[in-house]
């Protein structure tokens, strides 16, 4: 194996007409990496103020066929979840990420919601997870794996519900990754970072877009804005037949 490795690397150097890079050149390349230098960032989300960025996130997520609900507090999340499941004719049963921020939600006020904590099993129909960042640029959710956030929750069940805090909203993918590195205190990423934009889909048969190919058929984003006065649930979704 290592002989193969040397032959490939040697072949590359040969073709480039040089030997291995000298320590100086290597140091320069390492410095470029350590700086996390950004390339061109589109203005679309980056130039917006916070309120406009939120509107952009919602509009882009809805365009990607997610459903978004805005609620004024964590205590309003159970109601938003229960109503959504009822409206979609889904069972009031879900598997939830064993995450402290979700455990702190007063689920007991909606006793008909049956909740299990853990990874997703094949029979689970609905999952509920937190997210790491919400990216306005394309209405994308950034989720990271960990002991409290198993990855199977994002893909196995037919319905995926994600609770997003207002302060998790960022403009770009780069902003989300910066937030993650700052939070972890290291450049070493978690095992998985999932960028999720709308539900699963395919266009492999005659280019018809069908939702729910192998992953979730539905993506429901519950956006918690604690500075919001209203206790009501405000819902945004694409109208039937408005698919792009």
């Amino acid at each position: 194996m290592s002989e193969t490795r040397e032959r490939i690397l040697g072949g590359i150097r040969n073709a480039l007409g040089r030997g291995a890079l000298d320590p100086n050149a290597q140091a320069q390349l390492r410095a470029r990496l350590a700086a996390h230098a950004r390339n061109l960032i589109p203005a679309r989300a980056a130039v917006l103020d916070d309120a406009a960025r939120l509107d952009l996130f919602i509009a882009m997520a809805v365009e990607a066929q997610a459903t978004v609900a805005r609620v004024g507090s964590f205590s309003a999340v159970p109601k938003a979840v229960a109503r959504y499941l009822a409206a979609e004719n889904l069972p009031a049963e879900l598997v939830m990420a064993p995450d402290p921020s979700l455990a702190a939600i007063p689920w007991e006020r909606w006793p008909m919601l049956q909740i299990r904590c853990g990874r997703a099993e094949p029979e689970d129909k609905v999952s509920l997870t937190p997210c790491h960042s919400a990216i306005a640029e394309t209405g994308t959710l950034m989720l990271v794996s960990g002991a409290q956030t198993p990855t199977t929750l994002n893909f196995l069940p037919e319905t995926h519900i994600v609770v997003v805090r207002r302060d998790q909203l960022v403009a770009t993918y780069e902003d989300g990754l910066d937030r993650l590195r700052a939070e972890l205190g290291t450049d070493k990423p978690p095992r998985v970072i999932n960028f999720i934009t709308g539900p699963s889909r395919t266009a492999d048969i005659e280019q018809h877009i069908e939702l729910g190919a192998h992953g979730p058929r539905r993506l429901y984003i519950v956006l918690v804005e604690e500075d919001r006065v209203s206790g009501s649930v405000e819902k945004y979704e694409q109208q039937e037949g408005a698919e792009r």
Binding site: M1, T4, R5, I8, L9, G11, I12, R13, A15, L16, G17, L21, Q26, L29, L33, H36, A37, N39, L40, P42, A43, A64, P122, G139, S145, G146, A147, P150, T151, T152, N154, F155, Y173, E174, L177, D187, K188, P189, P190, R191, V192, I193, N194, F195, I196, T197, G198, S200, R201, T202, D204, I205, Q207, H208, E210, G212, A213, H214, G215, P216
Partner: protein, 471 residues
């Protein structure tokens, strides 16, 4: 995969005569380009991003040895392992050895063009391991024992009735009277059929759209979520990919990701972009216990420093296929190997030799649309010309073709003779065609006149008219 690129001419004729293929290509011809254009128009920086994407790839290729070594050490630091492979044989052997080490009986697969390149499915089957393709398009063509005809939409050559027929023939446990009239029903049937396969698989094989040197991560981009189930559920995740997929950092990957979905399907972003780094961590409730990367060269490193180096920038978006009039007419199977369309016309001779693939660089009108839509600005027509030159130098074209071409070159290098002959031809053809104004048939030009008339010249060559006016 066994190449039939040698038979391009016959393959293309068969494609043109295939009604189902022509109907399917008709759908693709309009769909992809329109969606791409709309997405590009919504992002004012798209042109600048193309330039940035090109710069990232050029920088990486100029330091490819450094970034690959860095990538390898970071994969190892995260608990994974890189297996270098110079040839398809070495890549297949590495996959088999990993599968055998865990006693794998079935493996699920996310779409990987490199796996197609090394002929992984046939090899695994022959070794007693069942590969199950999980991307809907790949699953359909696996059932039909066909190769993919497009690099992002592998079953684009099929109409829904053909898919329904295949499902009826293969899913024999299901009610034969069920309706399979709509894509929705077939999509649901594939989902239900494949779900237990996902859960039972011992290993999951995916490709990679990008590898990140700084972190040792692999990135996959899918819409179905099949790649994520493939790499999350089994004990072992094997990434089958190639050396030019590496980029320095997340920031560099982010720029290329902004180009990829828009160029490919016209989406703002694909449903799932997943960055994976190593196997399951302590405390994780799911994820693979082992993480392996097969890093294939297969002739790519030889392209560095040559006139074909720019081809290694390719991010496999398929925009060049989607905008190619030749691809749209003959379909992907005509090209006879893994990579069709303009990118295939350049890459195939690079990887399997111009002797086998010499027709492909000729399968172009040089209209230039491929280069104009390429997200990393690969000069595809120019490189096809380079291959045509090599074909000529290596004496691969038929003798008649070569002697006519040599004669033509001889004449065009002698301007006085050329102008005299052109004037003679213009006068002669003008005189012969003076009544009708066009020709129904011409000797040596049946290829043209079989399907259309040739207009008769006015009777004078352009040069002589020009000379007269400027006397």
């Amino acid at each position: 995969m066994l190449a039939t690129s040698r038979n391009f001419e016959a393959n293309a004729r068969a494609g043109l005569a295939n009604d189902n293929l022509q109907r399917a290509l008709g759908l693709a011809r309009t769909g992809f380009p329109v969606r791409r254009r709309l997405a590009v128009e919504r992002l004012p920086e798209f042109e600048e991003l193309r330039e940035a994407g090109r710069a990232i790839k050029d920088h990486t290729l100029a330091h490819l040895d450094f970034y690959l070594e860095l990538y390898e050490s970071n994969v190892a630091a995260a608990g994974g392992k890189v297996h270098w492979a110079r040839t398809p044989e070495e890549a297949r052997a590495a996959v088999l050895q990993i599968c055998r080490s865990v006693g794998a009986k079935t493996v699920t697969k996310g779409k990987s063009m490199v796996a197609e390149e090394v002929g992984l499915n046939e090899f695994l089957e022959a070794s007693g391991i069942t590969p199950v393709e999980t991307d809907l398009g790949e699953y359909i063509i696996q059932l039909r024992h066909e190769p993919p005809s497009h690099i992002i939409a592998p079953a684009i050559h099929l109409m829904k009735e053909q898919v329904a027929e295949t499902f009826r023939a293969e899913h024999r446990a299901l009610d034969p009277a069920r309706s399979l009239a709509e894509p929705r029903q077939m999509c649901d049937e594939a989902r239900a059929t494949l779900r237990p396969r996902f859960l039972a698989a011992d290993a999951g094989i995916t490709g990679a759209n990008f590898l990140v040197a700084e972190t040792g991560s692999s990135i996959i981009v899918t819409n179905e979520g099949n790649g994520d189930l493939t790499q999350t559920l089994p004990k072992v995740h094997i990434v089958v990919t190639s050396i030019e997929k590496v980029v320095p950092s997340f920031e560099d990957a982010a720029t290329l990701l902004r180009l990829l979905a828009r160029s490919a399907t016209g989406q703002e972003f694909s449903s799932y972009t997943t960055i994976s780094t190593g196997p399951r961590r302590p405390g994780d409730l799911d994820g693979p216990e082992q993480y392996h990367v097969i890093l294939l060269d297969n002739g790519r490193s030889r392209l560095l420093g040559t006139e074909f180096q720019d081809m290694l920038r390719c991010i496999r978006c398929a925009a060049c296929l989607n905008h190619c009039p030749v691809y749209a007419a003959v379909g992907g199977h005509a090209y006879g190997w893994v990579y069709p369309g303009p990118m295939g016309a350049v890459l195939t001779p690079s990887l399997i030799g111009v002797e086998e693939a010499r027709h492909l660089p000729n399968a172009s009108t040089f209209c230039g649309r491929c280069e104009s839509v390429c997200p990393v600005k690969i000069p595809l027509p120019k490189m096809m010309r380079h291959w045509r030159e090599r074909e000529f130098v290596k004496k691969l074209n038929p003798p008649v073709y070569r002697s006519v071409l040599s004669l033509w070159a001889w004449v065009t290098r002698r301007p006085t003779l050329y102008h005299a002959l052109a004037e003679l031809a213009a006068r002669a053809l003008g005189w012969v065609g003076r009544y009708r104004g066009r020709f129904r048939s011409l000797p040596l030009a049946n290829g043209w006149t079989a399907v259309r008339d040739m207009p008769a010249p006015e009777g004078r060559s352009f040069h002589s008219l020009w000379a007269e006016r400027h006397r």
